[in-house]
Amino acid sequence: MRFSIYLTLPLFLAGCSGRHNWLASAGAEADRVEGLFWVLLIGAAVIWCLVIGAAVYAHRRQVDPSLETQARRFIIWGGAVFPSVLVGTLLVWGLVILRDITADEGDLTVRVDGERWWWRVIYETSEGDVVTANEIRLPVDRTALFRLTADDVIHSFWVPALGGKMDMIPGRETRLTLTPVKTGNWGGLCAEYCGGAHALMRFDAIVMEQADFEAWLAHEAEPAQVAAGDPGYTVFAEEGCGACHTIRGTEAAGPVGPDLTHLAAREKLGAGIYEMTPGNMARWITETHEMKPDIDMPPYPDLSGARLDRLVAFLMSLD
């Protein structure tokens, strides 16, 4: 029985690797939190050993009334003064980290709006806002300032590998800085229960070299290249998709759902949960609520055959 319990232990270590690993040292802010974590863990282990050791020693030792004064002093210093000073020190340390990772300065500014259940992402540039969704790309070794808010319920913005998490509160703006130090595709998620599809509210945080990031951002700022009379866009327009979605460069300017201008350039579909493939796209349109329950987008089960193929081909061309 005991052996079988030991066998399950490696399963718990599965959380210590991968793209959501907050011990990956992929971000400067995550490194600071990790430093505090190890000090707390090791310190707590040492104190636990000392307390248990003292308890065992006291239990085995014979009572000596002459030592009572010393014992009471030990209790006051070790049981009251030391813990108070230690907790106070840790409080200051933790607060300084929190203050630093919520600073309001960065090399670039990204506004993120938490919606049910996806992410509206807006890069602030000198040429104006660049709107995208459900994928955040960042340059390595640069500090990004995130200005966070929410549409109607509280969410929490968290890329564990890069740094701390921050609540997104309707009607308020909260701030968070992330300084990635490793390139890669890291996982982001909502860390505050926000309703039915909360667990499916994810995003990719892709850290790139500076030049690659600038090229990506410049491309993202461009409108979509949609040919006049594109048969797929015709389906898109006839089905009324433009009432909710924006495709810059076309008449579609709906503000409700994610901006689709460069949809196919994203690696994931449905806010970080499905691979961006034609098959998933077709299913997303026709079986929307099977793929992601409770979302506002209605399914289009009657869309099939050539019309669906044309719409999927059009959406997959938006890169």
């Binding site: 009572e68 004064t69 009471r72 006051i76 009251a80 108070s84 907790v87 106070g88 409080l91 200051v92 607060l95 300084v96 929190l98 203050r99 919520t102 309001d104 308020r172 703006e173 701030r175």
Partner: protein, 140 residues
């Protein structure tokens, strides 16, 4: 340490021999100390909330920071004053090496004085912990 009066047999100390502390209102000092802590906590939140609501977003907290520190100093001073009363009027000591078992006005006063001093230390530490975040953070 324990309050011995509850456990004393009645024939040792006749009932009514010592005045009851509650009837005389002597226990107010026990309530007053943590009440100052609670009031400081509440006022600190009010100051920060009003400042952040009225000031522009991300306004500097420099001014309320010193208000919160000032409130902390006032609270600590009030607690110190109560601690002084606990020592002088109640004969309280911070560290006791014997049980207070005497069922008398004097014994009860000493017990109240001792507990008050412990509450003073706890409340001052709590007030310091409330002030620290106000000192560290510069924004709402």
């Amino acid at each position: 340490m324990r309050h011995g009066s509850d456990e004393q047999p009645r024939h040792v100390t006749p009932p009514g021999d010592a005045p009851r502390v509650v009837d005389q209102g002597s226990v107010w000092i026990l309530v007053a100390v943590p009440s100052i802590w609670a009031a400081h906590f509440l006022l600190s939140y009010w100051v920060a909330a009003i400042w952040c609501a009225k000031a522009a977003p991300m306004a500097s907290l420099v001014e309320p920071r010193w208000i919160i520190v000032g409130l902390g100093v006032i609270g600590a001073a009030a607690i110190a004053w109560l601690g002084r009363i606990a020592v002088r009027r109640y004969g309280g000591v911070f560290v006791i090496f014997e049980e207070i078992t005497e069922s008398s006005e004097r014994g009860r006063d000493r017990f109240i004085g001792h507990v008050t001093l412990l509450l003073c230390v706890l409340s001052v530490v709590a007030i310091i912990f409330t002030v620290i975040p106000g000192l560290v953070f510069a924004t709402c």
